[in-house]
């Protein structure tokens, strides 16, 4: 269809068009007017679902705050390790601009694509190819980049929830992308196969993903 006939249709129905646009805008303004909500939130009845959302988030929070996650979502400028989430003893490591560390001590200079058999050896995770398959010849191990540090360490549930749903702080992730990250990212999956001597989070991975889904499906509301 050529452009001109389409423009004639728009012109004929322009007032209806404008009315619809205004209505949609009004609804969006109403919905987005709440400072806590974000793009990820679908307009639903907030009350009963809000409770479910917060319950689900609270479950997920116990995983987010576990050392397996916190250690790569630190508050400071260096990666953490161990059950007590301390800096790598004896090493002065830095996040670096892209989160991959600073030469000559970038993350993958020690961390490989798989765990090594001993809890004093660095754990590892593979790179993901464009087609989604895992590349075990190349490691991927890093912190969030410096301008979106995605800090979990020290966050209250309210703070973490707001941060995860704020596109300015969550790296522009949509709900689907967030769910994808927690369900398939090798670095997240690693939390449940962390190698000898490292504890796993308090929920199973399935339970964790389900709770994240539940939270977002019910509006992604945040506790106060």
């Amino acid at each position: 269809m050529s452009l001109e006939p389409r423009l004639r249709i728009v012109h004929k129905w322009r007032w209806c068009f404008l009315l619809v646009v205004c209505a949609v805008t009004a609804i969006c303004v109403l919905v987005l007017g709440n400072a806590h909500a974000s793009r990820v939130v679908r307009p639903v009845d907030q009350h009963g679902d809000r409770t479910k959302a917060i319950e689900a988030f609270t479950m997920a929070y116990s995983v987010f705050m576990h050392p397996r996650c916190v250690n790569c979502h630190p508050a400071g400028n260096e990666p953490l390790r161990g059950e007590d989430s301390k800096p790598h003893e004896g090493l002065r490591l830095r996040r670096g601009i892209d989160g991959e560390g600073v030469s000559p001590l970038k993350c993958t200079n020690c961390h490989q694509s798989e765990n090594q058999p001993d809890h004093h050896l660095p754990p590892g995770a593979p790179r993901v190819r464009r087609d989604g398959s895992l590349d075990f010849t190349t490691p991927r191990w890093h912190l969030p980049a410096a301008n979106t540090p995605m800090i979990f360490q020290g966050r209250t549930p309210a703070q973490l929830c707001r941060q995860l749903t704020d596109p300015k702080q969550n790296g522009g992730l949509t709900a689907d992308q967030l769910v994808h990250h927690v369900s398939s990212d090798p670095l997240v999956l690693w939390g449940w196969k962390p190698g000898e001597g490292r504890a796993t989070p308090p929920l199973t991975h399935d339970q964790f993903v389900t709770s994240v889904r539940e939270w977002l499906a019910n509006g992604g509301a945040c506790p106060n």
């Binding site: 003893e89 004896g90 002065r92 004093h120």
Partner: protein, 724 residues
């Protein structure tokens, strides 16, 4: 170490006295160390004595008897020869000697590298040997020219006839010179004419250490060589009770499984395969004997010893200390206790050795400090005559005393004999730390009888320690005495009229031996902390108090130097405090000033100043390097390094839990060399850590009023803050 070597300890040696063929391997300043097997010298290479060899192609080879482990002996000692010889230093080759009586340290007639006495032990001998060779060359040239000796002199690798300016290269007359009888008392070159000694020389092996070509023991290879990984009884003193060879024989690269005295070895075509297989090997150990030993139990043992009687009085000088107690003899008696910890050597290159054993001979290549002990031990163990045991030394990736022992050498020989091939044994880092032979912990009690002004008029030491020398120099150790445990206490420059030392030699369930600083380390930590405490009690500045106790000019000069080169006399900024310590150890006078701040148990060291008098500084740059490095070692001893035991085993296993000083721990360190005489040479390799440790604890006291008397400081929750 003191005392004559006991002849009964040695098998009779039938080695030729000095002047025999020299076997070793060559090194030129920019080339590799390439170990040779024993073979006769080329026919045109002429030894003038055990230390100098010159070929007709004018190649001058100087022999280094001492093992090179970073202390620079392979440069400085041959430089002594080259200086007297008047050789062209830029063209000499350096060769590491074999084991022969000519290469024994003259003081105790035993061939070893350690105790910071390479330079002091060999200085006179090497001057004499170099001078003697020079005179032989001059004589040979004078004969050739038919002129008097007095008209000839040596310079830069040539003999010159003064009147006619005719020259002959050393190589032109080497053969003739080698036939002459050397003078027994050659004329030494005056120090004012020295061209090499006293100047910083480039280390002869420096280039090879910068491009990966330097061969350490762990790098040595032979065609057909196999590799072995070892697992020793986790409980000290335990043995293998059973093992299942078949559990690994099918694994990649595995050749054999061989028992060793305290454990088991897997032999494979490469180390990694041996190491992997060892993890899979089914083996059981019987460790009943010492399985109860732990740090807690050892602490009890030391404490019981200190509180008990049956002391050996090793020194009693002055009436005030004739009896066991000073009570009632002085206005005040002050007593304190100090504790130093068990330490591991943790050389960067783990223990390793290569051996090739046949029915007729045994040849060894490795990073050894004690080649004569190795030779004697292997000869006895393999029932081979001494002349069929050949010891070749590579470079050492650190020694610190650990490689004076021969356990790893014996393992290599046993395994090689078992498989009938050359074998290189490599210890994993875990084996290296868990089967170190540790610096023993020491418990010191010091009592001083003080006069009215707080000055000590009598001092009595009680020392509880296991043996230091037992495995490396048994002749010096008796049932109840080990002189190394008393270093720093038997002689002191502090003018204290009455001095007493009582010693208790402890027998414990973990192995102990020499480690950098030997007895000086713990004893001077105790003494310099104690003197500092006395200074405080007397209300005196720690420097002034020490000055008041010293008369020796060298002591006073070193102390004055460190004080004036540091900021000791300047008013400290708020929160900044300084600590001082001085001693003479290994014949070297040394003092440290440490300047630090401390907040919330985090110690920031701002600066460390050191003054050192080791006599005439033969190579100031090597000395400076050595003292800096020793100071850094001391930071680790003071703050971090600690070996503990549980259930008869060592707890620490690698660098994550046996912690050493790192870049971020290292503050600026200034070393000031106080010039001394060649008559008062001292060692530098292990003196650096001795005074920095008490200087640190003294500074912490000055900063906080808290006195820490046991090490490491991590035990008390103190941590070193990162340097810049």
């Amino acid at each position: 170490m003191s005392g004559e070597v006991s002849r009964r300890f040695f098998l009779t040696a039938s080695l030729a006295a000095g002047g025999g063929f020299l076997i070793g391997y060559s090194l030129s300043p920019v080339s590799n160390l390439a170990p040779n097997s024993e073979s006769p010298l080329p026919l045109d290479d002429f030894p003038l004595n055990a230390w100098v060899r010159i070929s007709s192609r004018d190649e001058v080879t100087l022999i280094s008897s001492q093992s090179e482990m970073g202390q620079g002996v392979m440069t400085t000692l041959p430089a002594i020869l080259a200086e007297e010889l008047c050789a062209d230093w830029n063209r000499v080759k350096i060769e590491i000697s074999t084991v022969a009586p000519a290469y024994r340290n003259p003081r105790i007639n035993w061939q070893f590298t350690g105790n910071s006495e390479s330079t002091t032990g060999f200085f006179e001998l090497l001057r004499t040997m170099g001078a003697s060779a020079r005179e032989m060359l001059i004589q040979a040239a004078a004969n050739r020219w038919n002129v008097p000796n007095e008209e000839c002199y040596a310079e830069n690798g040539r003999i010159v006839h003064r009147q006619t300016q005719r020259t002959l290269k050393f190589g032109d007359i080497a053969e003739a010179a080698a036939k002459l009888t050397p003078s027994q008392s050659p004329k030494l070159k005056p120090e004012r004419d020295w061209k090499l000694l006293g100047k910083p020389l480039r280390r002869v092996e420096l280039s090879s250490k910068l491009n990966g070509s330097a061969d350490f023991g762990i790098d040595f290879t032979l065609p057909g060589m196999l590799y072995a990984a070892v697992m020793q009884s986790p409980v000290h003193g335990g043995m293998v009770s059973s093992f299942n060879k078949e559990s690994v024989m099918n694994l990649p690269g595995v050749i054999d499984v061989v028992p060793i005295p305290n454990g088991i070895a897997v032999v494979a075509k490469q180390y990694w395969y041996a190491h992997q297989a060892l993890k899979a090997l089914k083996v059981e150990f019987d460790g009943k004997a010492n399985s109860a030993t732990s740090t807690a139990i050892l602490d009890q043992q030391y404490r019981t010893a200190l509180n008990g009687d049956k002391w050996k009085a090793v020194k009693t000088e002055g009436d005030a200390v004739r009896s066991n107690s000073m009570t009632g003899k002085f206005p005040q008696v002050f007593t304190q206790e100090y504790e130093s910890q068990f330490l591991a050597h943790a050389t960067m290159e783990p223990m390793n050795c290569t051996a090739s054993v046949t029915d007729e001979s045994c040849t060894v290549w490795g990073p050894l400090q004690g080649p004569e002990l190795a030779k004697l031990t292997l000869s006895g163990m393999l029932k081979l005559p001494l002349e069929k045991v050949y010891i070749n030394r590579t470079l050492l990736g650190g020694g610190f005393g650990r490689r004076l022992l021969v356990d790893f050498v014996v393992q290599a020989a046993i395994i090689s004999k078992a498989v009938g091939k050359p074998v290189k044994v490599i210890w994993s880092r875990e084996e290296d730390i868990q089967h170190d032979v540790y610096r023993p912990a020491t418990l010191n009690q010091i009592s001083a009888g003080l006069n009215e002004s707080g000055r000590p008029a009598a001092i009595a030491h009680k020392v509880v320690s296991p043996s230091i020398l037992q495995f490396v120099y048994a002749p010096a150790v008796t049932e109840d005495n080990d002189p190394s445990c008393l270093e720093g206490l038997m002689e002191s420059h502090y003018e204290i009229a009455s001095q007493r030392v009582d010693f208790k030699l402890l027998k414990i369930g973990v192995p102990t031996s020499v480690l950098r600083t030997t007895g000086y380390g713990p004893n001077i930590f105790a003494v310099e902390s104690f003197i500092d405490e006395l200074a405080f009690k007397a209300g005196k500045d720690p420097y002034e108090f020490r000055r008041g106790l010293l008369k020796n000019e060298r002591s006073l000069e070193v102390l004055e130097t460190v004080v004036s080169q540091s900021d000791w006399r300047k008013k400290a900024a708020r929160g900044v405090a300084r600590g001082l310590a001085y001693t003479e150890a290994f014949r070297t006078h040394i003092a440290h000033v440490v300047e630090l701040s401390i907040k919330d148990n985090l110690v920031t060291i701002h600066r460390i100043t050191c003054a050192v008098d080791c006599g005439f500084p033969l190579d100031p740059e090597i000395i400076r390097n050595s003292i800096e490095g020793g100071t850094v070692w001391g930071l680790g001893v003071a703050f971090k390094s600690n070996i503990t035991f549980q259930d008869g085993r060592t707890v620490e296993s690698n660098f994550h839990n046996y912690q050493i000083a790192q870049m971020q721990d290292t503050p600026p360190i200034d070393v000031h060399i106080v010039n001394g005489s060649t008559k008062t040479l001292g060692g530098t390799g292990e003196v650096g850590p001795v005074t920095v440790v008490p200087a640190i604890t003294n500074a912490i006291f000055a900063a906080t009023g808290k006195r820490y008397r046991s090490l490491p400081l991590s035990k008390h929750g103190l941590k070193l803050a990162s340097a810049a």
